[in-house]
């Protein structure tokens, strides 16, 4: 990594599946935390837990991915809360609806695209500007393997996450010169509410604490793109290399 950034991190979407475990891993390493979400009462429960377990400073700020106009103010609020621009930001929020519902109901499709892609672009641009100006920091975004190739099972969600992946790729390219690291995280299956009860092959599913640790480790090492369980890289490589004339006939 380049120069030392402040030991603090903003977790956007702190109530989502793996976010709590990412926050926990940062806290274990002595980072101060800002947890951001809409539901403040629920956030406060997690914040208390972080304080008891790790004796660190942990703050809660209200954040809505879709209130684009408030995003600049949110970034300023983070700096005011901590007394300085935070060291980094991890984007954990996301929205996955049932694919068939997203096909039939445009408002669902639109929400999928807005939360996962537009909301992410809006807030990360503000952080990117702040970090670029300071000359260090890190940005990590939870994208998805669903964004690696469009499949009939979840292509609307996949398109939004694919957009996010491309966005992060470009951002990484832009911020390289100013010493800001951008990490794209493609989790694969994790044992979160999203997958609870689904019949998935056990070895493909990462326990959330293990996933959280792997993600934080990768961020702090300055990795570019990580799959939480390493073999997903190979699984997705295979899926991506199937020729389109064949792929379109398949159900995977």
């Amino acid at each position: 990594m380049t120069s030392a950034y402040p030991k603090s991190v903003v977790i956007l979407g702190a109530l989502s599946g793996v976010a709590r475990y990412i926050a926990d891993e940062f806290a274990r390493r002595g980072f101060s935390l800002i947890l951001a979400e809409r539901d403040m009462a629920e956030l406060e429960l997690i914040a208390a837990d972080m304080r008891v377990r790790h004796s660190i400073a942990c703050y809660c700020l209200e954040f809505d991915a879709l209130r684009y106009d408030d995003h600049a103010q949110f970034v300023r609020q983070c700096a005011e809360t901590l007394g300085e621009t935070p060291g980094g930001v991890v984007l954990c929020f996301g929205f996955m609806a049932d694919q068939t519902q997203a096909q039939r109901d445009f408002s669902t499709a639109r929400r999928t695209l807005e939360v996962n892609f537009i909301g992410a672009v809006s807030i990360l641009e503000h952080f990117a500007a702040a970090f670029e100006e300071r000359g260090n920091g890190f940005i990590a975004g939870l994208s998805s393997v669903a964004g690696d190739r469009g499949r009939k099972a979840n292509y609307i969600y996949g398109a939004a996450k694919g957009g996010l992946s491309i966005y992060l790729q470009g951002l990484r390219n832009r911020l390289y010169a100013s010493g800001v690291q951008v990490t794209t995280v493609k989790p694969g299956f994790m044992d979160t509410p999203m997958t609870y009860g689904m019949e998935l092959p056990k070895p493909l599913v990462a326990a959330p604490d293990i996933a959280g640790r792997a993600i934080v480790r990768a961020i702090l090492k300055g990795k570019n793109v990580i799959y939480v369980l390493f073999f997903w890289r190979y699984i997705m490589w295979i899926i991506k290399s199937i020729p389109e004339w064949q792929f379109k006939k398949m159900s995977i």
Partner: protein
């Protein structure tokens, strides 16, 4: 957002019987509240699934997995009082508080249980003879009950509900939070004395004579030894090690444990791996290997949780699983203990691990297991004739006024159970007040008619 129901296969830790249940696993308070506002017709809370039998299973009903409701709420370093949600595991408490100089006041043989599970089964540990059970260190609990909503219970407030919940296997309500007193310690290490006893009498005599010198006491029993060496055992008794007893290296960071890689049993062992011969070989070796030794310094993981080092060790018994049988005899039931050991040794239903301990006083918990006397714990693999064999052990136990432990039991009958727990009637009354529509039910509660 309402919580989606999932279909999940559940079994007890003994993996004796496995059923598909409707399951919910809330991670947030709003999800749990929404669920409890319009609860399923029948459900039972579940933690980390370490009960051996069917206590946290619910055939034809729902299972509420609360292992993700595990936030710590507050901690007072001066008093060692921790307030946390019910899903916090004992392993998490150790990870967080041993480095700050606190240990669990009572711990069972695995740290992969939740606080709520520890209360619901009123678990005991190797220190029962001096400290009692887990619930005796719980100052207050927050309990959701179908009839009265969320109530606070303690020894002083709603004390009848508090003592019905201690050992009440989740049937009185959903345990939302608990306030417990941790034990201050000087190090993460134990100072242990190992003593070989060539016969049961010798082991029991040694326990009687000197258990009072040790906070923790337990004996491993070779339950295949017969005749003159019936009940030959190795006593493992110890105390928390003060810093000045530690070796030089450990003294510098007395709360840090050496890192250990975890072994795991990746697949079910074929049933034949654990057979009477291999178990006999293991037991003989184990007895031979452990010599008398004084003041051995071991870390708390080695002393309290030897099996936790092997993840999913329950797979050793193969697909068919096993039952764990824990029998407690009153002080005058010693002959019963001898007869039970004889019956085991001659049956060929070998137990890989058998553990013997002297209990201290019991507490007011209506279904709390421990009572003064001797408790013997064994694993019995699921082989043909198991049910009849267990029933014959039950009869023997009843004859001597002993009792079984709900956290372990998978096989006993309602009549047997009600004879063992004379306070079952009082429990049923409280249960009926708190849950008149019998929403909180489990496979176990139906098998043993715990709600009348």
């Amino acid at each position: 957002m309402p919580l989606n129901a999932a279909n999940v296969y559940f079994s007890g830790w003994g993996r004796y019987g496995c059923i598909l249940c409707e399951a919910y696993r809330p991670e947030h308070h709003f999800e749990l509240s929404a669920l409890l506002t319009s609860p399923p017709k029948s459900f039972i809370p579940r933690g980390l699934g370490r009960s051996y039998g069917d206590a946290a299973m619910n055939k034809d009903g729902a299972v509420l997995d609360l292992s993700r409701m595990n936030r710590m709420r507050s901690f007072e370093a001066e008093t060692g009082v921790l307030e946390c949600e019910g899903g916090v595991s004992l392993a998490e408490i150790l990870d967080v508080f041993v480095p700050r100089g606190f240990f669990l006041p009572v711990t069972p043989g695995t740290k992969f249980v939740t606080v709520a599970g520890a209360i619901a089964n009123d678990v005991h540990g190797k220190n029962h003879h001096c400290d009692g059970t887990f619930t005796q260190f719980v100052d207050a609990i927050g309990l959701w009950t179908p009839a009265r909503g969320i109530i606070t219970c303690s020894r002083h407030e709603n004390s009848d509900i508090f003592w019905a919940t201690a050992g009440g296997v989740g049937l009185t309500g959903v345990l939302l939070w608990a306030r417990l007193r941790l034990l201050p310690v000087e190090s993460a290490y134990m100072r242990v004395d190992y003593q070989r006893c060539s016969h049961l009498d010798e082991a029991l005599a040694a326990m009687e004579a000197s258990d009072k010198n040790y906070r923790y006491s337990v004996a491993w029993v070779d339950c295949l030894a017969r005749g003159g060496s019936l009940g030959r055992s190795i006593l493992m008794r110890g105390n928390h090690a003060p810093v000045n007893y530690l070796p030089e290296k450990a003294r510098r960071s007395p709360f840090r444990l050496p890192r250990r890689t975890k072994l795991a049993v990746p697949v079910d062992f074929p049933g034949f791996v654990l057979n009477p011969y291999s178990i006999k070989a293991f037991n003989t070796l184990f007895y031979a290997k452990n010599r008398n030794a004084q003041d051995v310094i071991v870390d708390y993981d080695q002393y309290f949780y030897p099996l936790d080092g092997i993840l999913q060790w329950n797979r050793l018994y193969g697909k068919k699983g096993f039952v764990q049988y824990q029998a407690t005899f009153p002080p005058d039931g010693r002959t019963g203990l001898v007869r039970m050991l004889e019956r085991l040794a001659s049956s060929g239903r070998a137990s890989f691990l058998a553990v013997l301990k002297c209990f201290g006083e019991s507490n007011p918990g209506l279904l709390s297991h421990p009572m003064p006397g001797y408790t013997l714990t064994l694993d019995i693999p699921n082989t043909p004739g198991l049910i009849e064999f267990a029933a014959s052990l039950d009869r023997l136990l009843l004859e001597y006024g002993g009792r079984l432990y709900l956290a372990k039991d998978a096989l006993t009958q309602p009549e047997t159970f009600s004879e063992m727990y004379p306070q079952l009637g009082a429990f049923r009354e409280i249960k009926a007040q708190l849950d008149p529509d019998r929403i909180l039910t489990s496979s176990l509660s139906r098998r043993l008619c715990l709600d009348g």
